[in-house]
């Protein structure tokens, strides 16, 4: 009986993971970037790259989205807004930080109006480096995120040796 229940639960979990990995809806937020990364994100969503074939859809409302795609360093003004958007998203939610500024503050590091990089404010799941990263890199970042959702025998991102 317990085994049956465990099998049932595994099956349900598998269906959930399948649905989530095949339908990541994204919401895009610029927390203070120079717009370079935003242009690349929009380029990734155009018919040229056609993310709809992987089930990715851009949604305006954070309530509809599963993945928050975030660009730029966090300015003091944007901090509360970023937090609010993150809190508005339904569970489970994921964050992808796009570009050098989102990872470290980039050229804006140390500015008087900057709080810092994105994971000082909200937890980040995947970082995509580049200034700006190419659309292929952004797509790769989202694919890596989906890979993290699947239970896989080997880790997706290898730690550098030494």
């Amino acid at each position: 009986m317990q085994r049956l229940e465990r099998n049932w639960n595994t099956a349900i979990e598998r269906i959930k993971t399948w649905a989530r990995t095949n339908s990541p809806w994204v919401v895009h937020f610029n927390s203070g970037s120079c717009n370079g990364c935003d242009i690349e994100i929009l380029a990734a969503l155009t018919p040229r790259y056609d993310l709809e074939r992987f089930g990715v859809e851009l949604h305006g409302s954070p309530r509809h989205a599963d993945v928050l795609i975030c660009t730029g360093p966090v300015t003091r003004q944007a901090r509360d807004r970023l937090l609010r958007i993150y809190e508005q998203m339904p569970e489970p939610k994921f964050v992808v930080a796009i570009g050098s500024c989102a990872i470290s503050g980039g050229v804006f590091q140390g500015c008087y109006n900057i709080v810092g990089h994105i994971d000082e404010v909200i937890p980040v799941d995947v970082y995509v480096p580049g200034c700006p990263p190419r659309p292929e890199a952004i797509i790769d970042g989202v694919v890596k995120l989906l890979g993290k959702l699947r239970p896989s025998p080997k880790p997706v991102i290898e730690e550098p040796a030494g």
Binding site: I15, K16, W18, A19, R20, N22, S23, W25, P47, D50, E52, R53, G55, H59, G60, S61, R63, H64, D66, Q88, P90, E91, P92
Partner: protein, 304 residues
């Protein structure tokens, strides 16, 4: 027992839901191909809806929680009821009575009403604007849409969908004898489904997602499924009335897919109308066209 099976599995319930998701995929794939894209995979609507159903449902502050939770269910129930009275998959409607055409058309409107109420229930500016636009649009297309569907009923001399279906099957296709009515019915269906050019209520470039902005998880999934079922019921009704009736599954697939192809083509080819333009189009041209159709019908009755 058989009635319960008809309600839950075939031709109502489960079958209509799966059919609706399949047709949503066909629609999205066609639009993608028209835009020179690859388009979504065949299971995409299923994955979307399962994902939304298992996600958390956020109930925002300052809403009536009971209403917030009930409205999606009412919307889906309304369109599922409507689907029971149309000849899904080419079989006779699961339930039928004299006058079910009116009931079906009003059940299809229930989804729009529930969407409007859902938007008005949440205290969000985008939802409120979306709800206003949804209801404004409902009042503009509803009368011409209803008149366009009543014309075949008058010709067939019955208010029962199955009898009009039989009549359409025995006579010349009504799209040839009533071309204006067919066009108005098709455009009315596009207005009902809120697809371009009548997508001002959910214009994502202006008002995020319209009335459904605050919905997440289960509620959003139920509204999505409701939209899919409405698509199936609407194009089945259209094909049954204007494309020479539906009497077997092959005819059903061919004729509904033909209507869906026209819907996808028109929606790719045109841009969005502003809400005042939508109202203008319907009350200035839609109503006049359908009244012209009625005049022609009455003239034909008097002469012959």
């Amino acid at each position: 027992m058989i009635e319960l099976a008809a309600l839950l599995f075939f031709p109502g319930g489960l079958f209509v839901l799966l059919n609706g998701m399949a047709y949503e995929w066909v629609d999205r794939k066609l639009v993608a191909r028209f835009q020179n894209r690859v388009g979504p995979r065949w299971f995409q609507p299923l994955a979307d809806n399962v994902k939304l159903l298992v996600n958390e449902e956020v109930i925002p502050e300052n809403v009536d929680a009971r209403l917030f939770i009930t409205l999606p269910v009412v919307a889906l129930a309304g369109v599922l009821t409507a689907a029971l009275y149309v000849p899904i998959a080419g079989f006779d409607p699961a339930f039928s009575f004299e006058g079910d055409l009116i009931v079906t058309i009003y059940m299809l409107s229930l989804l729009t009403m529930a969407t409007g109420l859902a938007g008005a229930n949440t205290r969000d500016r985008f939802s409120l604007i979306g709800a206003t636009r949804t209801l404004t649009q409902l009042f503009s297309y509803e009368a011409p849409f209803l008149l366009a569907f009543l014309a075949p009923a008058v010709v067939a001399g019955s208010w029962q969908i199955s009898e009009i279906n039989d009549y359409a099957g025995d006579h010349l296709w009504l799209i040839l004898t009533q071309p204006i009515g067919a066009i108005v019915a098709l455009l009315g269906l596009m207005g009902k489904l809120e697809i371009p050019p009548f997508d001002a209520p959910e214009a994502e470039t202006e008002i995020v997602a319209g009335a459904l902005t605050e919905y997440s998880g289960r509620g959003l999934a139920l509204f999505h499924l409701g939209r899919n079922v409405e698509l199936v019921a609407g194009i089945t009704l259209l094909a049954a009335f204007y494309l020479g009736g539906i009497s077997n599954p092959i005819e059903y697939v061919l004729k509904t897919l033909a209507v869906l192809f026209v819907l996808a083509t028109v929606q790719t080819a045109v841009a969005r109308l502003r809400i005042d333009q939508t109202v203008g189009v319907w009350w200035r041209y839609g109503v006049l066209l359908v009244l012209l159709q009625w005049l022609a019908l009455i003239g034909a009755e008097v002469i012959f």
